[in-house]
C-alpha cells in the first residue's frame, strides 16, 4: 500500500510538471496549429535566466521568479515575431514550421550550453528540504505547490478560454481563421497573444522545474517531448485535455515501473505517444476537427 501511495504521489508530481509544459504548448498549438517544439527551448533559457538572476546576481528569489515569467513571455512573443511570422507570411507549410521549431530548440539549448557549460545547476530553496509523511508515503512542500499550480492552471485556462473576450477570439481563430478575420479579429495578433500567454506558462514551468529538478542544457528536449506526449494523449489543441493527458502520462510512467525497470520510463512514454498518434490521434478529449 505504501508503494502504491508513493507511486501515486510521484506520478502526480511528475505528471504536474509535464502538465505545466503541456498547457503552454497546447495553448500555442490550439491557435497556431503547428508543433512549436521550441517551447522546450523557451523553458531552458528561462531556467538559466532564473539561475543567473537569483544565484549569480544574488537577487531575491521571488523578484527573480517574476522577472523570469516576464523574460519567458517576451522570448516567446519575439520568437513568433522574428521566426514564425515571416515564414507564415511566405505561406510556409506546417512541416517547414516544424523543422524551424526543431532548429530553434537546438539553437536555444546550444546557447545555454555555450553560456553556462554542461555541468548541472541547482537552485536551492528550503521548500524541498523536508518531506511530509502521508500514510507512509513522502511528499515535499514544493511538490505540493507543483500539483496545486497545475490544477490552478487547469481552471484558470478554462476560464480564460471560455469566459474572456481574448479567449473567445482565440477559439474563433482556432475554429475558423478566415471567418474570424472577416469578423475583425486579427489572426496575427491572436497568434502573438497565444505565444505570449503560452510562454508565460513556460516561465512558470521553468521556475518549478528548476526547483524540483536540476537545470541542464538538454532538459528542453526531454521536457517538450513529455509535454508533447501529454498533449497528444489528452487531445492536442485542447488545453484542459493536455493537463489531464500529462497527469495520465506521469501516472502511467510511474506505475509502469511495477512491470519494467525504472530506466524504461521514457520508453513507456514514447510507446504511449506512438500508439496514440497512430490509433487515437484526436486523443482522449480532443474534438475530431483538431485531428489531421
Amino acid at each position: 500500500m505504501d508503494i502504491f501511495l508513493q507511486l501515486l504521489i510521484n506520478g502526480l508530481v511528475v505528471g504536474s510538471i509535464y502538465a505545466l509544459v503541456a498547457s503552454g504548448f497546447s495553448l500555442i498549438y490550439s491557435t497556431n496549429k503547428f508543433v512549436h517544439f521550441a517551447h522546450g527551448g523557451v523553458i531552458v533559457l528561462s531556467s538559466y535566466f532564473l539561475y543567473w538572476v537569483s544565484a549569480i546576481l544574488g537577487w531575491d528569489f521571488y523578484v527573480a521568479s517574476f522577472l523570469t515569467i516576464l523574460f519567458a513571455t517576451l522570448l516567446g512573443y519575439c520568437l513568433n515575431k522574428t521566426f514564425y511570422q515571416p515564414l507564415r507570411a511566405k505561406k510556409a507549410s506546417n512541416s517547414v514550421l516544424l523543422v524551424a521549431s526543431v532548429a530553434i530548440l537546438i539553437l536555444f539549448q546550444s546557447l545555454a550550453l555555450l553560456l553556462f557549460g554542461a555541468d548541472v545547476k541547482t537552485i536551492a530553496l528550503p521548500l524541498s528540504n523536508h518531506s511530509i509523511n502521508i500514510g507512509g508515503a513522502f511528499i515535499t512542500p514544493l511538490q505540493i505547490i507543483i500539483i496545486l499550480v497545475s490544477l490552478l492552471l487547469f481552471f484558470a485556462l478554462r476560464l480564460l478560454m471560455q469566459r474572456t473576450k481574448i479567449g473567445k477570439a482565440m477559439r474563433a481563430v482556432a475554429d475558423n481563421k478566415e471567418v474570424a478575420e472577416i469578423l475583425g479579429i486579427s489572426a496575427e495578433r491572436i497568434y502573438g497573444t497565444s505565444f505570449a500567454i503560452g510562454s508565460a506558462i513556460a516561465g512558470i514551468a521553468a521556475i518549478l522545474v528548476s526547483l524540483e529538478q536540476n537545470i541542464t542544457p538538454l532538459m528542453g528536449t526531454s521536457l517538450i517531448i513529455k509535454g508533447f506526449t501529454g498533449s497528444v494523449i489528452g487531445g492536442i489543441g485542447s488545453v484542459p485535455g493536455a493537463i489531464v493527458g500529462s497527469l495520465f502520462l506521469g501516472l502511467a510512467e510511474n506505475f509502469g515501473t511495477w512491470f519494467v525497470s525504472a530506466g524504461f520510463k521514457d520508453a513507456i512514454a514514447f510507446i504511449l505517444l506512438f500508439l496514440f498518434l497512430l490509433i487515437k490521434p484526436q486523443g482522449l478529449f480532443g474534438n475530431k476537427n483538431n485531428q489531421k
Binding site: K90, I106, G263
Partner: protein, 286 residues
C-alpha cells in the same frame, strides 16, 4: 601525404553523403518528412557494433546491420503509410525517441549511456587512408544505386505519389507498397552509413543519435535541394566543412561543440526562409 585531420574530414563527408542521399530518397523523392532517419543511422551503428563485437566478420556485419535497419524501416512503414506532412514527421520523430530510449536503457545489451567501445576494425582498414578509400567506394556505389533507382519506373512512381497520391492510386499503382519500399531502401542506406560510422569511430553511445545530430543531416538535404542528388553532394561538403574555421580561431573544444550546433541551427533557419529550395531543389517541403 594528406594531413590526418583532412582525412578525418573526408571520411565524415563520405559517411554524411550516404546519410544525405538516403534521406533524399524518402524526403525528396518520396516527399515523406522522415525525422526518424537518425534512428536508422543509430540502429545500423549498434547492430554493426554488436555483431562485430560478437565475432562476426566485417563484411557480413555491415550487410546484416543494414538489413536490420531496413527491416525497421519496413516495420515503421506499416503504421505510417497513410500519414503525410507534419503528422508523419511527428510519428517518425516519436520512433526515433523510442529507439534512443531503448539504446540508453537496455544496458545489458547496448551498454547504456556508456555505449559500446573497442568495436573491431579489420586489419586491411587499420589505417585511416585505406578506410577513406573504402568509405568512398561504398559512397559511390550507394550514390549510383540511389540515382539509378530514382531514374527507373520506381523513382517515377514514388515522385508521382508524392505529387498526387490519389491520382497514382486511381491509375492502379500500389502506392502504399511503393512508399514502403522507399522507406526500406532509405533505412538500408542509413544503416549502412551507421555501420561505417561505428567501425570508423570504434566507439558509439546513444548521444550520437539524437535530435542534435538530425539537424546537420536535414540541413544537407535542404541546402542541396529536395530531389537533387548532385546538390546533396555539394551540400554535404559545405555542411561538414562550414564549422571548421571555428577550430582555427582558437576556441576551446568545449566551446566549438555548441558553436557548431548554433551555426547549423541558424543556417537551417536562414535557408528555409531565404532559399527554401536550396542549391538545386525542384520542389518545396510540404
Amino acid at each position: 601525404m594528406i594531413d590526418a585531420y583532412f582525412i578525418h574530414l573526408l571520411i565524415l563527408i563520405g559517411i554524411y553523403l550516404i546519410l544525405g542521399i538516403s534521406l533524399q530518397l524518402s524526403l525528396g523523392y518520396g516527399g515523406l518528412l522522415n525525422l526518424g532517419h537518425i534512428a536508422f543511422f543509430g540502429i545500423g551503428a549498434y547492430a554493426f557494433a554488436l555483431l562485430s563485437l560478437h565475432g562476426f566478420p566485417f563484411a557480413l556485419s555491415i550487410l546484416v546491420a543494414s538489413i536490420i535497419s531496413a527491416l525497421f524501416g519496413w516495420l515503421l512503414s506499416i503504421p505510417t503509410n497513410k500519414l503525410k506532412g507534419d503528422y508523419l514527421a511527428l510519428v517518425t520523430l516519436g520512433f526515433s525517441f523510442v529507439v534512443y530510449a531503448v539504446l540508453l536503457n537496455w544496458t545489458s545489451f547496448t551498454g547504456g549511456a556508456f555505449g559500446l567501445a573497442n568495436i573491431p576494425r579489420p586489419s586491411f582498414l587499420s589505417d585511416n587512408f585505406s578506410f577513406l578509400l573504402f568509405v568512398y567506394v561504398i559512397a559511390i556505389i550507394s550514390y549510383i544505386f540511389i540515382s539509378r533507382i530514382c531514374g527507373t519506373r520506381f523513382g517515377k512512381l514514388i515522385e508521382a505519389i508524392r505529387d498526387d497520391e490519389l491520382a497514382a492510386r486511381s491509375l492502379g499503382k500500389k502506392t502504399l507498397k511503393i512508399k514502403s519500399w522507399g522507406l526500406v531502401i532509405s533505412a538500408f542506406f542509413a544503416g549502412l552509413a551507421g555501420s561505417l560510422f561505428a567501425s570508423y569511430i570504434t566507439f558509439i553511445d546513444p548521444s550520437s543519435f539524437t535530435l542534435t545530430t538530425l539537424i546537420p543531416i536535414l540541413l544537407i538535404v535542404i541546402i542541396g535541394g529536395l530531389t537533387s542528388l548532385p546538390g546533396t553532394v555539394l551540400a554535404t561538403i559545405v555542411v561538414v566543412l562550414i564549422p571548421e574555421p571555428l577550430r582555427f580561431l582558437g576556441f576551446s573544444s568545449s566551446v566549438i561543440g555548441p558553436l557548431q550546433q548554433i551555426l547549423y541551427a541558424l543556417l537551417l533557419l536562414v535557408i528555409i526562409y531565404y532559399k527554401p529550395r536550396g542549391f538545386y531543389g525542384k520542389i518545396d517541403l510540404e
